[in-house]
């Protein structure tokens, strides 16, 4: 057997045998999500916040807005920033310290979807050209890591952005104690779905155990119109055919996830 994953050969064989029967260790079908729970407004001091659970995976995302000077090359645009913290609280595999490569990749993929789909109109975040723009920072914190952190994090980030309200801004100062009714200028939902390849099978929403058996993955971010706005491949090689199948599945699943908005 050609095992390109972290899982030992016996467990991997067992997993593949199970997938051949169309059933996963926890009883799900190959393309079933675990129970998804989305809750917004979970952190009162944040301008927007959301908690997302995929089974035992749980993440919290929060949006803070600050008034900053724009970057010199984009004087008329606001700034968005996505950051992910793999808190050591969430898993024995996570350690304290500066962000590791996994959390950097996750935050960059989430960021890319939001940025490239132009979901947020950055020009509307500009108050005074070259001087004052809103900086929207989205922080994602893991509570419990049991696989598929990326999809859960992206969903939480989007839900938090939708939940966000601008703080009051008077006399050149942000008053974080008072929020207006104004929402972020956001008109698209760039939702990522990661398709994982184990043997010749494609699955979605792997548990931590299944994730160890994954050979390749492809994250496909798409908007409600089916426009693909970001991709990220991980692990082993994929063929054209496989990419096509994964795209199809991802678009189908993203429609399914949209019902949580």
């Amino acid at each position: 057997m050609n095992n390109n994953s972290k899982m030992n050969n016996d467990s991997k064989n067992h997993l593949i045998k199970s997938l051949e029967k169309g059933i996963r260790f926890d009883g799900r079908k190959l393309t079933d999500y675990r129970k998804v729970v989305v809750e917004t407004g979970v952190s009162k001091n944040a301008e927007g916040s959301a908690r997302v659970k995929f089974g035992d995976t749980e993440v919290v995302a929060g949006v803070k807005m600050m008034m900053e000077k724009p970057y010199p090359d984009t004087p008329e645009q606001g700034v968005i920033m996505v950051n992910a913290e793999f808190l050591p609280m969430a898993s024995p595999e996570f350690e304290s310290g500066p962000p590791g490569i996994d959390s950097i990749e996750l935050s960059r993929v989430v960021d890319r979807g939001i940025r490239e789909s132009k979901a947020i109109d950055l020009k509307k975040l500009c108050l005074k050209k070259g001087e004052k723009v809103w900086m929207v920072s989205i922080d994602i914190c893991t509570i419990n890591a049991d696989g598929n952190l990326l999809d859960a994090s992206a969903l939480a980030a989007l839900a938090a952005l939708q939940n966000a309200r601008f703080p009051e801004y008077v006399d050149d100062e942000v008053n974080y104690k008072k929020h207006t009714d104004e929402k972020l200028p956001m008109d698209k939902l760039p939702l990522p779905v990661t398709i994982h390849k184990i043997g010749n099978f494609f699955i979605v929403d792997p548990s931590r155990e299944e994730e160890h058996g994954v050979e390749a993955r492809l994250t496909i971010t798409s908007t409600e119109k089916g426009i693909i706005c970001a991709l990220q491949k991980g692990g082993a090689t994929l063929t054209n055919d496989e990419v096509a199948q994964m795209l199809e599945l991802a678009l189908e699943k993203s429609t399914e996830l949209r019902k949580y908005f």
Binding site: V42, S43, K44, N45, A46, S49, D56, E58, V60, G62, V63, K64, M66, N83, E85, L87, P88, M89, A90, S91, P92, S96, P98, P99, S137, D139, C141, I143, N144, A145, D146, Y176, K177
Partner: protein
């Protein structure tokens, strides 16, 4: 001026609404969440487990390591930059000292018990909420303990001694304020954390401490109920 009525309408010796839950983080050996008003702390315990680097090991007992951290969006005001700060390091240290007196880690030489405390939202009293959650998480993990630890802030706003100050009270402008985070071991009444900032007279301080002792039982009940609920037959089946 006299502080006749609390900003949020509470009685002077009344805490904000409290809720607590244990077993909230599956991956951890023990976990809990503790909410008081708009302050919510999560605590996860990992261990006893191997401690590296080796020079940190103590051959006569296991050690306790605490880490207090605010989520970047949890603060009143600006985003909190991720990673340790001078403030969070100090709080981690006093949290460890507050919990250690109830623990017995002699059975685990060279090992470590890690406690990770994360604040999801804060409205003052975050170190106390963290300590409450941490002591429940340690109990949930089955670490040998003499008692839980209850923590609450007491203090003074203007001319009144109050319990569980929120942010608006800490920032009260029309008179002196004192904020006194307190951790108490309920069964003995011993104080395992005591800090204070602000201005206070000796008499007021003594009064504040005794108000703290009085309110302990209430928080202790919430903690015990959360632990009992987790191990009642109904929740085990879930």
């Amino acid at each position: 001026m006299s502080y006749t009525k609390r900003i949020d309408g509470r009685k002077f010796n009344e805490t904000r609404p409290i809720s607590a839950k244990t077993g909230v983080i599956k991956n951890a050996d023990g976990s809990a969440s503790f909410t008081i008003g708009n302050t919510t702390a999560y605590a996860a315990v990992y261990g006893p487990r191997n401690l590296y680097p080796k020079f940190l090991q103590n051959p006569s007992t296991g050690i306790l390591r605490c880490n207090y951290n605010m989520m970047p969006f949890s603060g009143m005001g600006d985003r909190v930059r991720p990673g340790p700060s001078r403030r969070s390091k100090e709080i981690s240290m006093v949290t460890q000292k507050a919990l250690l007196p109830v623990l017995d880690l002699k059975d685990f030489p060279n090992a470590v018990v890690d406690v990770f405390i994360e604040l999801v939202e804060t409205d003052a009293g975050s170190r106390c909420a963290g300590i409450c959650a941490a002591s429940m998480a340690l109990a949930d993990a089955g670490v040998k303990m003499r008692d839980l630890v209850v923590a609450v802030s007491v203090g003074k706003v203007d001319d009144k001694v109050v319990v569980d100050l929120d942010y608006n009270e800490e920032a009260y402008k029309d008179g002196p304020v004192a904020d006194i985070p307190l951790a108490i071991i309920p069964s003995t009444g011993e104080i395992s954390l005591l800090q204070m900032d602000g201005e206070v007279t000796k008499e007021e301080l003594i009064e504040a401490l005794s108000e703290g002792q009085k309110i302990v039982a209430e928080l202790y009940e919430v903690q015990k109920n959360a632990l009992k609920e987790r191990y009642s037959s109904k929740t085990v089946q879930e």
